[in-house]
Symmetry: C2
Subunit: 337 residues, 2 copies
DNA sequence: TTTATTGTCTTAACCGTTTGATAAATATGA
DNA sequence: TCATATTTATCAAACGGTTAAGACAATAAA
């Protein structure tokens, strides 16, 4: 089929060793010999086999990324950043959507270990015991988990400070005069959802604001879930003046539902989201939201990963990223009252 | 490091051949021997090296996917579908965002050939000569291009019938009584943008409707581009009653801009998009748009790819997918006049 | 009893690289 | 001139699997 290093060596009239060395610049080779090798390689359209190479050097320059679903715009944006970093560092990214299914996760985990990827980035949000044990079974393999994770000795974690983010959101609402605040969040078995709820509760308590039971709704972090959550909220006897929605996807669904029901945003109802996905700037009205530093998150994930690949036995560390508020137009100041 | 087939063989007291055969179920092996092998493998936590295997069997069960950017929700959704199909067929997907940069594209192309992926899915939209020649240089490698492409003898193409889609959009607007129709499209060096514009023009001419010069705007398929396009449109002396926007991302930007400027959608201005991205159902108002059958597209891409991998010398074929209209609430019937 | 057949497993070559050990040729110094 | 360095390139053994060909018993057939 395609040319091998032997073919190149033969044509250049040198040994494969020499070819290897000139192509990798790994040892001095006389200028003229080099040229012969380059020319032979060129003529044969030679592309060295990374698989043979990997077998020998014991690394593949590929990383696996395990993510719940890239259908979620936040994940999509993050994956995008991660891919960028991988490219910059000379790695390939193999994308694995788990769809939250344990079987798919395990299957991918097996594939990735067999393919001998150099490391795995995990972004599955859930803190599910079975997932956990599946991962731990692969403890030999460098791993950084990006939004979740039981701290194991040899895995790094890097995550957004979601309780802080929730505080930021609530604080902003309060500063705008809101007191009657609702919450539509993600499924509680996902860490960020849990943290945002905790932050919400904490912040409300610190401000001495009551939390009305039917104003805190657990949903699923998806568009449709936001819609449903809002529907449920609108069916309450008395309505809040503002709602903190656990991510931008749900915020979009929620806004859509509210507007379809004729409630004006932000005049009648203020909404604040979480994630700061690209498109949230283009909602009508543009969404005020909490920004997760996605680029930074990706950069840290990759640099941490590379560090761990180079030094697998170092103790697992945990990095916390600070979110920040980005105000646009979906929350109004409550004037009267 | 990790156990090899030899370790397993040793521990089970058999040859590596036997181990290989029982693990791959590729030849009969006595029941008791099988058990010994399984147990040994289990005890050693053995994971066969796919890289060693690939070297021998000459395939990697991985596909590369070259895509402009997964930041665009349409691509993101498509990649998602593709990933699903890959998984189902036992392939890994390595994700390569080209960001429209030739250098990155070439670099990835090189990486992918070296990694010996079994095939490459190309979704770069542009019909750029240099890209073209880069790809052709790799003609040995199975390739299916998903939205673009100079037909080469040995590459398959599968694409959405975008001119048909544009017809559908314009027809719908006309049926709703619109006559003053504008168009905001993608960059003309991308095939879908070109086709949609062609379809727009064709459909308008067939209906004997005039196309006003400053009502056809070339933008960039991005959120912000849609916003800018709408801004430009709104600055015209006389406004259209409807606008056909070349994709949903731009439609979102356009709607946002229009609404920010106080024009009511669809009462004052109807909008129809293209792609039917998930989130377009959650716009305010929900977006009427042209649906590209993404799932079908992905399925066809993968099945075509597998066919080509199995039979690389067959003639390249071209498959056209039919879009369809999905009506929601962003276009209103023009009543009076 | 001898030969053929069947069932079960092993030997060894090969896939395409990298790399430590070593050799050949030439230059340098005494 | 000879011993030693230096420069340049080669040999051959891995790496971890797969698989064609063959080996060895045990059993069946002649």
């Amino acid at each position: 089929m395609s040319a091998t290093i032997k073919d190149v060596a033969l044509r250049a009239g040198v040994s494969t060793t020499t070819v290897s060395h000139v192509l990798n610049k790994t040892r001095f080779v006389a200028k003229t010999t080099q040229e012969r090798v380059f020319q032979a390689a060129e003529e044969l359209n030679y592309a060295p086999s990374a698989v043979a190479r990997s077998l020998k050097v014991k690394n593949t320059k590929s990383l696996g990324m395990l993510v719940t679903t890239t259908l979620n715009p936040f994940f999509a944006e993050l994956v995008n950043e991660v891919e960028k970093c991988c490219y910059r560092e000379g790695y390939n990214l193999v994308l694995c959507n788990t769809d939250g299914e344990l079987e798919k996760t395990n299957s991918y985990l097996r594939m990735l270990t067999q393919k001998r990827v150099d490391g795995i980035l995990v972004m599955c949000s859930a803190y599910d015991d079975s997932l956990f044990s599946s991962l731990i079974g692969q403890r030999n393999l460098p791993m950084v988990v990006m939004d979740w994770g039981p701290s194991d000795d040899y895995v790094d974690r890097i995550q957004d400070n979601s309780v802080k983010g929730a505080h930021l959101a609530i604080q902003h609402l309060i500063e705008q005069g809101h007191k009657r605040i609702a919450y539509i969040g993600g499924p509680l078995e996902k860490l960020p959802a849990k943290q945002r709820l905790d932050g919400f509760i904490e912040a409300m308590e610190q401000a001495n604001l009551a939390i009305q039971d039917d104003w805190v709704i657990e949903s699923d972090f998806e568009f449709e879930g936001g819609k449903l959550g809002m529907r449920q909220l609108l069916s309450c006897q008395n309505l809040p003046s503002a709602v903190f929605v656990g991510n931008d996807a749900m915020a979009m669904g929620a806004m859509s539902e509210a507007q379809l029901s004729g409630v004006k945003i932000p005049q009648q109802l203020s909404i604040i989201g979480y994630d700061n996905c690209m498109y949230s700037a283009y909602f009508s009205p543009p969404l005020t939201t909490i920004n997760q530093p996605k680029e930074r998150l990706a950069e840290l994930a990759i640099s941490t990963m590379i560090e761990r690949i180079e030094n697998p036995r170092q103790e697992g560390k945990m990095i916390m990223l600070e979110p920040n508020l980005v105000v646009r137009s979906s929350v109004a100041a409550v004037s009267a009252k």
